[in-house]
């Protein structure tokens, strides 16, 4: 057991190092940008997975937290000054705003279950979207606005490293979080909320905590996203963002943290290459169809996502299960 874990850990370490070194050996800035994009969406997707995969909360409004982060950073860098200080401040302000909103959203889980809660979050994020469209003095409507990023991020390498750093930090934080006692209670809420309560856990606390943690992390992703584009418009609040987070999580593997990261990578890369295919071979003009088929195939062949699929293969290879056809030991009691 612990051996497997250390194996996992060393794989993570190797991948992290490889990503760290990557921009120094490759001078493709396209890759740098693509990977930066993947890191940012991976953070978003992980935050979503904390809700969906670990707490069992389906939200169709995650984009609102992403949007809060993106707009906070965009507006602060635009109105004050494009300095590192304001960048950090804007992240902090984004955290606070996202925390407040997600706190109230979390409390609503008390009253609304499953689909109904999901649809309520859809409504709330819809209202945020309308606000972003209408509050023009602040947001410039749905055209959005460009702003300057702090000087130091002009070098995309620095920003790449920052995003990677954030990804690793969030990953480590969430990894510890979900394997902590708190994380295990979250999982039990997902499995059977009533029973969790009758064991003496105040489930509302846990759902609110998960909601706030997810909201705050999504806001971080939003802040990074805004800076990566040096531009914000209402698209950061749209259903598309929520769906992206959702799809990345599901494709990668719900209830695992590596899953959303892999999912973000797969979706962004597939999109990149498939649309490239269309450029080079006109016959692939309708590459979106292939993209859609990818989702379908993913569900049929990896019903538990990529990570689930890999785990299955490993389980098969290690062959432990096959032998334990009947995991039963006699325990006859003499009475």
């Amino acid at each position: 057991m612990s051996k497997v874990l250390s194996l996992n850990k060393s794989i993570y370490l190797i991948i992290a190092l490889a990503l760290l070194i990557f921009p120094f050996v490759s001078d493709s800035r396209t890759w740098t940008i693509l990977l930066t994009q993947i890191f940012i969406f991976a953070i978003l997707a992980m935050s979503y997975d904390l809700l969906l995969g670990y707490t069992g909360i389906v939200s169709f409004g995650h984009a609102m937290f992403f949007g809060i982060g993106a707009y906070t950073t965009g507006i602060m860098l635009d109105t004050f000054a494009p300095t590192l200080l304001y960048f950090v401040l804007s992240i902090a302000v984004g955290f606070i705003l996202a925390a407040v909103v997600s706190f109230f959203v979390g409390i609503l889980t008390l009253r609304l279950k499953s689909h109904y809660f999901a649809m309520l979050t859809l409504a709330l994020s819809g209202l945020f979207l309308v606000a972003a469209e209408k509050w023009r003095s602040l947001t410039y409507g749905n055209d959005g606005f460009t702003f300057r990023a702090p000087e130091i991020f002009q070098d995309r390498l620095v920003f790449y490293l920052l995003s990677l750093g954030c990804l690793i930090a969030v990953f480590i934080f969430l990894k510890r979080f979900v394997s902590s006692p708190m994380g295990h209670v979250l999982i039990s809420v997902r499995e059977n909320e009533n029973r969790t309560a009758s064991l003496g856990f105040n489930t509302l606390h846990y759902k609110v905590i998960a909601s706030v943690a997810a909201g705050v992390i999504a806001s971080l992703a939003g802040s990074l996203y805004a800076v990566s584009l040096r531009f914000v418009n209402t698209s950061v609040m749209t259903m598309d963002i929520t769906l992206d987070a959702l799809l990345m999580t599901i494709i990668g593997g719900v209830g695992t943290l590596v899953g959303p990261i892999l999912g973000a990578g797969v979706i962004e890369l597939a999109q990149h290459y498939l649309s490239g295919l269309a450029r080079d071979y006109p016959i692939f003009e309708r590459w979106i169809i292939l993209f859609g088929i990818l989702y379908i195939i993913a569900v049929i062949f990896f019903p538990r996502g990529i990570v689930g699929g890999i785990q299955r293969v490993f389980a098969k290879l290690s062959g432990k299960k096959v032998k334990a056809a009947r995991p039963i030991k006699k325990s006859v009691v003499k009475s």
Binding site: H115, L247, Y295
Partner: protein
């Protein structure tokens, strides 16, 4: 007074249209509990095939029929390939139906070309009656009639047969229903096909209403349908009808009296209903 009547009639007809769109989803999502994000895709296919049939044959009735046939065929294929592997698993349903939605939308462009198409109202339904200052648009009156008719038919089927009951039982415990001697797979298949055909029908009737069909209309209206089903109360057809009319009327009156909020009206309505009646307007019974 005329103003109020105008707003009411127009809101009502919009609501009916939304109901036609949501009726299929009431079966598929409300009853069968399948999160079908491809519903909008079925709707668009209905709309395009109706426009195409109308352009080719010049017969409005044939165009409606064509759309329903498209819905049935697509419903069959969708259920068999896309939905069967994911019954009972909402997470997988989201992914696979979103993927299928992309395929459906993009295939529209392959089959019908990438451009929007004009959809025409048949001459006998074109125009409007004017009664004083009240304008009664013929096609809208037609939609209102059809809406109530469709409601009546489905409600009759659900009430008079055990289909609704069996589907609800099947969602709760598929194995048990089978053990009672019912071929639940077939019931699900037919229900899904009916839902798809209704979506297609909704698309076909929507097309002349807005005068245009375009591939992307699917997701927009798909979400609206979800909103209606949830507001109405999952699986309740009368609930969906009421919710759809509510959405239509709210849109109509808000756009007139509180235009500043009209962008947000659906979301506000849904948020209010959910907060004050968490289970939707109607509970799923009968």
């Amino acid at each position: 007074m005329e103003l109020l009547i105008n707003l009411f009639v127009n809101g009502l007809s919009t609501g009916m249209l939304i109901f036609l769109l949501a009726a299929g989803l009431t079966l598929i999502f409300g009853l069968m509990s399948v999160l079908n994000f491809a519903h909008g895709g079925l709707f668009v296919w209905g709309a395009f095939s109706a426009v195409w049939v109308y352009a080719t044959t010049g017969s409005f009735m044939l165009s409606i029929l064509g759309a329903v046939v498209t819905g049935v065929v697509l419903g069959f294929v969708t259920e068999k390939i896309i939905i069967t592997p994911v019954y009972g698993n909402h997470v997988q349903q989201i992914l696979i139906t979103l993927g299928f939605m992309l395929v459906l939308t993009e295939m529209i462009k392959v089959v019908f070309g990438p451009n929007q198409l004009a959809a025409k109202v048949p001459p006998y339904l074109d125009g409007s009656w004017e009664v004083g200052d009240v304008i009664l648009i013929k096609y809208r009156m037609f939609i209102i009639l059809i809406g109530f008719a469709v409601f009546g038919v489905i409600q009759f089927i659900l009430k008079r047969t055990k289909v609704g009951l069996i589907v609800r039982a099947g969602v709760l415990n598929k194995e048990m229903v089978q053990a009672l001697g019912i071929n639940i797979k077939q019931v699900f298949l037919f229900t899904f096909i009916a839902g798809a055909a209704l979506a297609s029908l909704g698309g076909a009737l929507m097309a002349p209403y807005s005068g245009v069909v375009y591939a992307e209309m699917g997701l927009e209206f798909g979400i609206l349908a979800f909103i209606v089903v949830v507001i109405g109360g999952m699986g309740s057809l009368p609930g969906s009808l009421l919710a759809a009319i509510l959405v239509g009327l709210a849109g109509s009156f808000m756009a007139y009296y509180v235009p500043a909020l009209s962008l947000a009206v659906n979301m506000i309505l849904m948020a209010l209903v959910l907060i004050f009646r968490p289970q939707g307007l109607f509970a799923a019974k009968g």
